[in-house]
Symmetry: C2
């Protein structure tokens, strides 16, 4: 039995309510049960949500926490009036002061995702995902001039998830290339990348962490052994230094943090748009 349930109630996917609510909850030493109630876009569904929330609160003997991003006022009203939880109405709180500052009314329209097939931004995101997939792990040298960023690093330094994240969240075309023993012997970047040096960003990782990650895939292999990981990481870092490539260590960073840092370095204008 959990001590407390947190609900995320939205007319849309609930992603915004959940992202924001979780960030706030992370400020507290509690492990609540979390329940997302998406697509609550009619008065009927709102009544159902109220019943679920109140039933839970009764079972647990304490108020549920309810984060909402509802924009439909009729739906919100049902929740406000019926729900025996602590309501944290994220839109209501900020939309009104913004109306005053901007001097215009908000339109209370649900979802920025409607008519997605006609959105250029969405189209570009999907294109970027396709591009990044086709250019994963040095698979293709084609159309590198189209890349927004080219990640390099030893195998399992975090290039693939970072590339896909950059594509999915930021619509960037992100290619990635492994640095392999051949490159170290030649003491040079993969030749296909040389013309695009400005777009290259390196990922490195501590040898210890790399050995851990590789051991999950191929336990007791030379590939995963600490001495080999030490050698590869040292060679890759020396190469990036020689080539004057910007790089960072992924050892303790999430893909979100790596991606944000890369954006700052490679395309600071992508942080404003």
């Amino acid at each position: 039995m959990h001590t407390r349930t947190v609900f995320f109630v939205s007319d849309g996917t609930g992603i915004t309510a959940e992202t924001f609510g979780n960030a706030i909850l992370a400020q507290f030493e509690i492990v609540p049960r979390r329940v997302r109630l998406p697509f609550i876009d009619t008065v009927d569904k709102a009544h159902q949500a109220v019943r679920q929330i109140n039933h839970t609160a009764e079972l647990e003997g304490r108020k549920s926490i309810v984060f909402t991003t509802l924009v439909n006022m009729e739906v919100l009203k049902v929740i406000q009036e019926g729900c025996k939880g602590m309501l944290l109405d994220m839109f209501g709180t900020f939309v009104h002061p913004l109306e005053v500052e901007l001097g215009i009314k908000s339109h209370h329209r649900v979802g920025r995702f409607s008519d997605i097939s006609k959105s250029k931004e969405y189209h570009d995101r999907i294109e970027a995902i396709n591009y990044s997939l086709a250019h994963d792990d040095g698979q293709s040298h084609k159309n590198l001039e189209e890349a927004d960023v080219i990640l390099v690093g030893v195998s399992r330094s975090g290039k693939t998830p970072t590339s896909l994240y950059l594509a999915m969240q930021h619509g960037l075309k992100a290619a990635n290339y492994p640095l392999i023993p051949e490159d170290f012997e030649r003491r040079q970047l993969p030749p296909a990348l040389v013309p695009y040096k400005k777009k290259i960003f390196g990922l490195t990782i501590s040898a210890e962490r790399l050995s851990e990650i590789r051991s999950e895939r191929r336990p007791d292999s030379r590939y995963a052994s600490l001495p080999n990981c030490r050698h590869e990481v040292a060679e890759a870092e020396a190469m990036m230094r020689r080539a004057s490539i910007r790089w960072l260590s992924s050892t303790t960073k999430s893909i979100e943090e790596i991606a944000t840092t890369i954006l700052q370095e490679i395309r600071p204008e992508r942080l404003s748009y």
Copy 2:
């Protein structure tokens, strides 16, 4: 010249501030310039941010809108006292009432991403991304018993981006298989999938939209032609109906909406965790 700039100021990546701020801004008919100021985690950087915000406000002759998710109180104080913008302090607004309700103090700690290499949840997300990549487009029949969901549909119905999104955002292992003319002739699902029918979810798409998408890749091909798209979509829908598979149309839906719907259908418990 933009009429108004919106800043997203955070001690961390700024993703939460941006997600939430953009959702609120979507309620207004304005096209502001957006600037993300991530990693503002020292008093010095806060002063720099204040200078940038105030300089912009002066140039534009009106207040900037500033969404913050700062948890470091010293940093927040610099922004609060120095910034000539309209401050929408998303954490401050909700954290205090929650402290009262929960009866505990928040710890004002930055970022849920620290020490990410030790987080099981993060590890599982990366595993899920690797799994989904290895099982993209029917590439592998191995370990299908590990899949959380198996997407099927005609080529370009949205399976790949949806699979990657499910992995990246929800840590789900999502395989995907194309339905191809051979399957239609045999009038059966790909044989490898039959044991896993409970995990299968279908994506369909309107023939018109499919033809548009395919034409971008292979203009004037039979593959992209409207009659062929009509035929494939009709066959795929008939097959999914015969096999009693749950499915939805991706025609006007974003990957976020598709993913949320799949979660509701296949693993409703994943909406609570």
